[in-house]
Symmetry: C2
């Protein structure tokens, strides 16, 4: 794989991958911030969701996807899936000849930059919470006196995919999940799953005006911009970008759900049969 990096150049795409469509919110943030960059997206829609799978299985799948993208000459890998970032980041970095960014560190940095009372809430899938990755990232980057309250919210993903982003059921579910977190007086809440940005208005309402929401998708796109500039790998934009979306299955309502997440039409979608 070491030869690959020699072949990647400024015009090479950024590889963004996720267990499904959720990572399209990250692709969207990168497109908005870096309109000259091409994106090679991989969504493992046949095997989604990862959030409830074992660590071994998640690491095996992550390796397979990262190798797929590296073989296609990406210049940078972005792990858009919180679950993969939480349990398989080290595995991916060890195998990759190109730099790897992920949403958790970015979200942790964003939260630390915003909190004033050093009490941070993190909401995510069960696997992400159980991994303790956000707690480690925030403790590792912070000054050590930060209190972190984590809460698994497994129903938010199906609710976002059902399109119930402004629905009484979602509001009630959010109150149930966020109640114990808000009771701990946090002033910052990390949306630790790529699906959650779609619930942002509702979560902002439930959390109230005293709590700032941190969106990892925006945070990681900022990191990508800086890193590409530092490595002199930013695309000079002489040609229009080309985006390709690889998926392992074309599930029902894929187009509709995907375009809602991406915020624009899905162009070139390729089916990968694994």
């Amino acid at each position: 794989l070491k030869e690959v990096i020699m072949q990647a150049d400024q015009t090479s795409p950024i590889g963004v991958f996720d267990s499904g469509v959720g990572g399209l919110t990250v692709a969207r943030a990168i497109m908005d911030r870096l309109p000259g960059e091409s994106i090679l997206y991989f969504g493992d829609t046949a095997r989604v969701p990862y959030g409830v799978k074992s660590v071994e299985t998640i690491a095996r799948y992550a390796t397979q996807i990262a190798e797929f993208l590296i073989e296609r000459r990406v210049k940078l890998l972005v792990v858009a899936c919180n679950t993969m970032a939480a349990v398989a980041f080290q595995t991916i970095r060890d195998l990759s000849p190109v730099p790897v960014l992920e949403v958790i560190e970015a979200g942790a940095r964003g939260a630390l930059a915003r909190t004033r009372n050093h009490r941070i809430g993190v909401i995510a899938t069960s696997a992400t919470v159980a991994s303790g990755a956000y707690v480690r990232a925030i403790k590792g980057l912070g000054n050590g006196c930060t209190e972190i309250v984590s809460q698994a919210c497994p129903l938010f993903v199906p609710l976002a995919e059902e399109g119930w982003t402004d629905h009484e059921v979602t509001r009630l579910t959010a109150r149930e999940y966020l109640g114990p977190v808000l009771a701990q007086d946090v002033d910052t809440l990390v949306l630790g799953c790529t699906h959650y940005p779609l619930l942002k208005p509702l979560l902002r309402e439930v959390a109230g005006p005293g709590v700032e929401l941190v969106d990892s998708a925006e945070a990681v796109s900022e990191r990508a911009e800086l890193l590409l500039r530092d490595l002199k790998l930013a695309n000079p934009g002489l040609e229009p970008p080309r985006h390709v979306f690889h998926v392992t299955d074309v599930p029902m309502r894929f187009q509709e759900v995907g375009e809602r997440f991406l915020g624009r039409p899905l162009g070139n979608v390729q089916l990968v049969k694994w």
Copy 2:
């Protein structure tokens, strides 16, 4: 594969398979009705849920699982997954040297036996509803003048797995999904997904006393009893039954969720690495 059937005998196990843990409600109904039979269960927990995947992918996975069980000398296959039964039953029957039963025909028969006003409601996953399988089964078995109202309820599976079986969020979700079905004056409601029996008390409450619920798990276990007797393949029960549970992943809370679905301890669990 034809040689396999020659090797299967009365003491061979019944193969029961599903996309995940949901089919354990079917295994449970069979254990309750046929306590002398051994069960070889297969739950594709690494690739669950199937309900939103494409027909091609579901058929490919179903073939792989059926072959796995046939190679292990089952005497009967029970497709416990409504989604697989809806879109891949023909594929499975074509490849199988042993008889195949599935939940949809059984549920359709149960509904027709109970309805008095010939208005039947069916609730299931999006893929099952989109396949039209229940409508075809009920129309095919009935006298042709039955009205069928179908409703996809994608949030019921995550709600059942979250354990919110008696929760205000689930009640509100059930009212939203069932509202249009009940407005059509149905007197019978088919629970067209293996997860739904866990929500039975709540669904009974929301549906009201005038609506009878049909549980496909019970219906298919009845069919299995009759078929084994007809084929002289019922286990004489000289030795205690042996149950083995194959899963493609051991997800978080598997033991807890699985035992809730099975209604007893999970004994011999084997991990299949695909």
